[in-house]
């Protein structure tokens, strides 16, 4: 006779990506029912943004997503630009694209760190965090801060690139390219990882559509959707790249997409460095204290490390604060209804694999 258990995985656990807990009902080690429990990180950002003057929100938004804060800055800046009709100089667009790609790399480092931790491979956790630290050094060099950069603002970026920043980034990319073969050996093609990933948690193209998945899970299932390609923003229309796609849809395919995405980010960053135009870095917006954006609404999206990340914002033209800003994170789709559906009948050991290969980011759900 099998035993019935009811346990919690998380909120603090090496295999859990962030403060997020999973309430599991088990029969033996088979999952009978699963309920994602979140709310540990609810800080009421959307409400907070409705209370503050437009420009003060620039320093609030990066705190929504800890592993990848720059995407929020970019979306908020673009939201205001779209509503208020502000132009962005070409150099600023390139700098922003560079920051976004660097942010993707940083976020993928944290993902492979947790993917390694989830299968007991702690070496890769340490390595990835160490390599991300070198990236944060460059962020600090450019923006003055390591995690929350508060660098992109409506009209461009806060300050110009310091001298030598591009060279520094280029030599970091050289280092990283060599380093990727180490990661290949220790994580992506590691026999232990293969036995935990191959054929596990297979996503089908039909599920992608039905549950609203995007990013690496969708690409691993063969659905080549990528906001950078489908609706190019910033300077992506001037860069050359292919959307990385796999066809198996299992955890291994998702991690292969992650690996390809990291290599793609390196190649995009090299293109950006080569094409970086000179000129203005900021098109000054109106006087911040008197700035009341025009009435209107807009949906701005970008391809984050986890998929389509978007802001839907409404301005009423009367107050400086937005009437409503809705943050749409890709983890909302993967980490709630889809997880509940997918994990039924799977084994307990697959929970960390699910969380790390889908890279669930709970602050996107809590906000």
């Amino acid at each position: 006779m099998s035993r019935h258990y009811e346990i919690f995985v998380g909120p603090n656990h090496p295999g859990v990506t962030g403060n997020f807990s999973v309430h599991v009902w088990l029969e033996g080690d088979r999952i009978v029912k699963l309920k994602p429990e979140y709310g540990f990180l609810h800080r009421g950002f959307e409400k907070l943004m409705e209370r503050r003057e437009t420009i003060r929100n620039v320093s609030i938004v990066p705190r929504i997503c800890v592993p990848e804060p720059d995407i929020n800055e970019n979306l908020y800046a673009r939201l205001l630009e779209a509503v208020d009709g502000i132009d962005v100089p070409p150099r600023a667009r390139y700098i922003r694209t560079m920051i976004l790609e660097m942010a993707r790399l940083g976020a993928y480092f944290l993902q492979i760190s947790s993917a390694g931790g989830a299968i007991g491979n702690y070496t890769v956790s340490e390595w990835a965090v160490g390599d991300r630290d070198l990236l944060l050094d460059i962020f600090e060099w450019i923006t003055g801060a390591r995690v929350y950069h508060i660098y992109q603002m409506p009209g461009g970026v806060r300050k110009d690139l310091p001298e030598g920043a591009l060279e520094k980034l280029w030599s970091y990319l050289d280092y990283l390219e060599k380093r990727m073969s180490d990661y290949e050996e220790i994580l992506f093609e590691n026999p232990v990882a293969l036995s935990r990933w191959k054929g596990v948690l297979v996503v089908t193209p039909d599920e992608v559509e039905r549950f609203g998945l995007s990013g690496p899970p969708a690409k691993a299932a063969g659905v080549a959707m990528d906001v950078r390609k489908d609706a190019p923003y910033e300077a992506y229309s001037e860069l050359e790249f292919e959307v990385p796609v796999e066809k198996d849809g299992d955890a291994y395919a998702r991690m292969q997409v992650v690996k390809k995405e990291m290599l793609l980010s390196i190649s995009l960053l090299r293109q950006i460095i080569e094409k970086m135009p000179s000129g203005e870095f900021l098109n000054r917006p109106p006087n911040f204290k008197k700035w009341i954006p025009k009435a209107g609404e807009s949906y701005q999206a970008l391809e984050s490390s986890r998929g389509e990340y978007a802001y839907y914002g409404v301005f009423d033209g009367k107050s400086s604060a937005p009437r409503r800003v809705y943050v749409k994170g890709p983890s909302y789709a993967a980490g709630t209804a889809y997880m509940e559906y997918k994990m039924r009948g799977e084994r307990l050991e697959h929970i960390p694999v699910f969380l790390s290969t889908f890279n669930i980011c709970p602050p996107e759900i809590d906000r």
Partner: protein, 142 residues
């Protein structure tokens, strides 16, 4: 300025929401982006915005419905779009909207907030600064 995504927009009445969304789904708008609510206080309505995408053609569509702030009630679309289960629970908790035929039943509160009985916090007439002073007392740091 050109928008990044072109959204077609349809405005529907409260009673037609479910039928309209179901027919959109059968026309290929089966990729659910989000549902959210905009509070137009002091005017007496909420505007609930649903957004969908057609993955084959890349077309996007927004469905907007106005509902009263006093008695906000909508049919649940969770049967058609499983992701809406959680999005609707969030709307129920944050705006106090009631959903008919929701898979989790009638009482949808307590998803993110715990032991919360101070009213839906995302409504415009909920003043969070005033609330925190009421709850914790005014503190001054010299």
């Amino acid at each position: 300025m050109k928008e990044q995504f072109e959204f077609e927009e349809i405005k529907v009445k409260e009673g037609d929401v479910f039928e309209v969304i179901r027919s959109l789904k059968s026309q290929g708008f089966s990729y659910f982006l989000f549902v959210t609510c905009v509070d137009w206080y002091p005017r007496d309505y909420f505007e609930v915005v649903y957004a969908f995408r057609n993955l084959n053609s890349g077309r996007n569509i927004k469905v907007k419905v106005r509902i009263s702030r006093e008695n906000p009630l909508l049919p649940s679309i969770a049967e058609e779009f499983p992701m809406a289960i959680y999005q609707e629970r969030e709307l129920a908790e944050m705006f106090g909207i009631k959903f008919l035929n929701h898979p989790d039943g009638e009482h949808l509160e307590n998803m993110i907030l715990e032991d919360w009985d101070y009213g839906p916090p995302m409504r415009k007439d909920f003043d969070s600064a005033e609330f925190s002073i009421r709850l914790f007392g005014e503190r001054r740091y010299e």
